[in-house]
C-alpha cells in the first residue's frame, strides 16, 4: 500500500514537472515573417505582397493621423494582403480580401522587437503577433495584454492615456506597441490598400 502511495506521488510529481517544462517557450518564441503570415491567413488563403511609395503629402497625412508622439518616417511601405480562397485548388489573388498584414520593428528599451499587425477590411486591428523580442522576457507583452488592441481603430482611445491599460512593470513595452499600432493604422488609412488596384 505504501509502495502504491509512493509510486503515485512520484507519478504526480513527474507529471507536474512534465506539465511545467512541456509548455512552449512562449516568452522566447520567435516567428519568421512567413510563419506569421500563415498564422494570419491560413490555407487555402493566398497572400499578395505589395509595396506603396508614399508621396510627401501622404507621409505628412500619416504623421498627422498617427499623432504627435508617433514617428512615421518611411515612405516605402510593404504590406501583405490576404485573399480568401474557396477551394483547395490553387487560387489566384482574386478572392475577397481577408485583411492586410504590416510588419513593424521598433526599439523597446535598448533592443528591438518585431510585430505583425493585421488590419481588417474595416480598418481595425484583428491580430497582433510578436515575431521577435530581444529584451529580457519579463518586459514582453503577454497575449492578454496584446488582446486589448484587437478590434481597435485609429482614434483617441488607442493610447495609454485613452483606454489602453498600461503593462505593469513594462511601461516602455506598452508605449512602444501602442505607438506602433497607431503608426500602422495611420499608414493603412493613407495607403488604403483595399481601395488601391493591384499594381
Amino acid at each position: 500500500m505504501r509502495i502504491c502511495r509512493t509510486s503515485s506521488s512520484a507519478g504526480a510529481l513527474i507529471a507536474t514537472v512534465w506539465c511545467l517544462i512541456s509548455a512552449p517557450l512562449a516568452a522566447q518564441a520567435r516567428l519568421t515573417q512567413e510563419e506569421a503570415l500563415r498564422l494570419a491567413f491560413p490555407l487555402p488563403a493566398t497572400v499578395e505582397r505589395r509595396t506603396a511609395f508614399l508621396t510627401e503629402d501622404q507621409l505628412a497625412r500619416a504623421r498627422e493621423l498617427a499623432g504627435p508622439d508617433v514617428e512615421v518616417t518611411s515612405r516605402v511601405v510593404t504590406y501583405y494582403m490576404g485573399h480568401a480562397c474557396a477551394s483547395s485548388a490553387p487560387c489566384g489573388l482574386s478572392g475577397p480580401p481577408l485583411g492586410v498584414a504590416y510588419f513593424e520593428r521598433h526599439r523597446v528599451r535598448t533592443l528591438n522587437e518585431v510585430l505583425m499587425f493585421v488590419v481588417s477590411p474595416g480598418g481595425r486591428i484583428t491580430r497582433v503577433d510578436i515575431l521577435e523580442f530581444l529584451e529580457p522576457p519579463e518586459y514582453r507583452a503577454s497575449p492578454r495584454w496584446l488582446g486589448q488592441l484587437l478590434g481597435r481603430g485609429l482614434d483617441d482611445a488607442l493610447s495609454l492615456k485613452g483606454s489602453v491599460v498600461n503593462l505593469t512593470g513594462a511601461t516602455l513595452t506598452s508605449r512602444a506597441i501602442v505607438r506602433a499600432s497607431r503608426r500602422v493604422l495611420a499608414v493603412h488609412q493613407v495607403v488604403a490598400p483595399l481601395a488601391t488596384p493591384r499594381p
Binding site: 511545467l20 517544462i21 519568421t32 503570415l37 528599451r109 522576457p137 491599460v165 505593469t168 512593470g169
Partner: protein, 440 residues
C-alpha cells in the same frame, strides 16, 4: 507596268518593316518594364529585410511564399548584450521644528541617490544573464557605495518553469523588484517597503519562476537575514526601527541559516495585479547567546509576509500593500545585540499603505502626464515587543504624502511631494521633497 510592280513591292516592304519595328519596340518596352518591376521588387525586399532583420524575413523551408509548411526555423544567435539604466536625484527640505515644536536639527540635503547601470546578456533562447550595478550617494569616498543590486543567470525550460541562480532580488512587495523611480509615484519609497520589506533587498540563492496562465510565481532559496550582525557579517542586525539592518546584500553573507521565499501574483484582469509573498527563515545564523537562563541557540526565526494590489485604468493609478513580520526569540536577540528598554527588536512589525494618483492630462492630446497623488501610510516596527522591554512610541509612525509627478516622456519624471510625518512620540519631522529620475 514593271514600275508599278516595283512600287507595290516597295510599299509592301516599307509597311512590313514599319510593323515589325513597332512590334519589336513594344516587345522591348514590355521587357524593360518587367525588368524594372523585378528590380523594384528586389529593392523593396532588401529594404524590408533591412527594416525587419534578416532572420525575421528569412523564409522557412517552403517553396511557395507564405503558404508552404514551415518545418524549420532560421534563427540566428540573438543580439547578446543589453544595456540600460536609471537614476535619481533627491532634494529633501526638512521642517525646522518637529511635531512637538522642538528644533528638528535636520539639515536640508540634495543627494545623487542612485545611478544604476543595467547589463544583460542573452546566451541563447534559454540562457540569460541579467544584472544591475548600483552607485549610491554620488561617491564612495563620501559615504556612498557601489553594489551589485542583482546578478543572476536564468535557464528557461518553458514559459511555465525557469531556473534562476545568483544574486537575486527578494521577490516581496511592490517596490523591491520594480524600483525604477519613474515607474512609481512618490519621491521616496514607502516606509513599509524600507523597514519591513527592506527594499532594496537582494541576497544570493537559487530558485524557480514561471507563469501559469494568469498566475506568475517565484520560489527561491536564499541566505537568511542576519539579525545580530557585526563581526564578519556585512549586516548590522535587527533593531527597534526594523529589520533592514539584517540584510546581508550578498556580501560574504553568513549562510549558516537559509531561508525560503515565495511569491504569487494574479494578473488575469487587465491593469490589475494582486498577489502576496512570504519569507521564512532563521536569522540567528547559528549563533548562541548567553542569557540569565543560560546558553541559548539563537534561531530568531523570521517570518515576513505581505499582500499587495495595483490597479491602473484610464489615468487612475492605485496601489496598496500590507506587510507584517514576526521575529522569534526577540528577547534573546536583544541580549545578543545589547539592546535594552525601548531599543528592543520588535517581536512583531506591521505596516501598510494605500496610494492613489490620477493623470489630469489624460484627456488632452499632450504627451505629458501630470499625476497628483496621495499616499497614506502606517508603520510600527515595534507593534509588539518581548516581555521586559518597551516600545518606543517614535516607531509608531503615520505618514501622509501629497504631491504630483510630471512625466514629460515615460522615461523621465519630476516628482514633488510634501510628507507629513507623525509619530506617537510627537517627534515627527515633516519634509518637502523633489525627485528627478530617469530610466532607459
Amino acid at each position: 507596268m514593271r514600275l508599278i510592280r516595283w512600287r507595290r513591292a516597295g510599299m509592301a516592304l516599307a509597311v512590313t518593316a514599319w510593323c515589325t519595328s513597332g512590334l519589336l519596340a513594344q516587345e522591348r518596352d514590355t521587357t524593360e518594364i518587367a525588368r524594372l518591376k523585378a528590380q523594384i521588387e528586389a529593392i523593396t525586399r532588401e529594404i524590408e529585410e533591412l527594416k525587419l532583420g534578416r532572420e525575421v524575413v528569412a523564409r522557412a523551408d517552403t517553396a511557395q511564399f507564405g503558404l508552404g509548411p514551415a518545418a524549420s526555423k532560421v534563427y540566428r544567435a540573438p543580439e547578446g548584450v543589453s544595456l540600460g539604466g536609471y537614476g535619481e536625484v533627491l532634494y529633501e527640505h526638512f521642517r525646522a521644528a518637529r511635531e512637538d515644536s522642538q528644533p528638528s536639527q535636520r539639515t536640508n540635503q540634495l543627494d545623487a541617490l542612485r545611478l544604476i547601470a543595467y547589463l544583460g546578456y542573452k546566451f541563447d533562447d534559454k540562457f540569460l544573464f541579467n544584472s544591475e550595478i548600483e552607485f549610491e550617494h554620488g561617491s564612495t569616498g563620501r559615504g556612498g557605495e557601489a553594489s551589485i543590486e542583482f546578478a543572476y543567470l536564468d535557464y528557461r525550460l518553458s514559459s511555465r518553469l525557469g531556473l534562476r541562480g545568483g544574486v537575486l532580488l527578494v521577490p516581496m512587495g511592490l517596490t523591491n523588484e520594480l524600483h525604477e523611480p519613474p515607474t512609481f509615484l512618490g519621491t521616496t519609497r514607502p516606509l513599509t517597503e524600507q523597514v519591513i520589506v527592506p527594499s532594496t533587498w537582494r541576497e544570493s540563492g537559487l530558485g524557480v519562476f514561471g507563469d501559469l496562465g494568469d498566475l506568475a510565481y517565484r520560489v527561491y532559496l536564499i541566505n537568511g537575514l542576519d539579525a545580530v550582525g557585526g563581526g564578519t557579517s556585512a549586516a548590522s542586525g535587527f533593531g527597534g526601527s526594523g529589520i533592514r539592518g539584517g540584510r546581508q546584500n550578498a556580501a560574504r553573507a553568513l549562510a549558516e541559516e537559509l531561508a525560503g521565499v515565495a511569491r504569487l501574483d494574479y494578473t488575469g484582469v487587465l491593469g490589475l495585479t494582486v498577489g502576496g509573498s512570504a519569507y521564512l527563515g532563521n536569522s540567528g545564523q547559528n549563533r548562541t547567546v548567553t542569557t540569565t537562563g543560560g546558553s541559548v541557540d539563537l534561531g530568531a526565526r523570521t517570518l515576513i509576509w505581505e499582500g499587495h494590489l495595483t490597479y491602473q485604468w484610464r489615468g487612475l493609478d492605485l496601489r496598496g500593500l500590507f506587510a507584517m513580520a514576526t521575529v522569534d526569540q526577540a528577547a534573546a536577540l536583544n541580549v545578543a545585540r545589547s539592546l535594552t528598554g525601548a531599543a528592543s527588536v520588535g517581536e512583531r512589525l506591521r505596516g501598510w499603505y494605500a496610494q492613489a494618483g490620477y493623470d489630469v492630462l489624460r484627456t488632452t492630446r499632450v504627451g505629458h502626464q501630470l499625476v497628483p497623488y496621495l499616499r497614506y501610510e502606517r508603520v510600527n516596527t515595534q507593534d509588539r515587543v518581548p516581555t521586559g522591554f518597551a516600545a518606543n512610541p517614535a516607531n509608531d509612525r503615520r505618514i501622509v504624502s501629497v504631491g504630483a509627478a510630471w512625466r514629460p516622456i515615460g522615461n523621465v519624471a519630476l516628482k514633488v511631494d510634501y510628507q507629513f510625518h507623525h509619530n506617537e512620540a510627537r517627534t515627527g519631522i515633516s519634509q518637502l521633497n523633489a525627485n528627478l529620475s530617469y530610466l532607459f
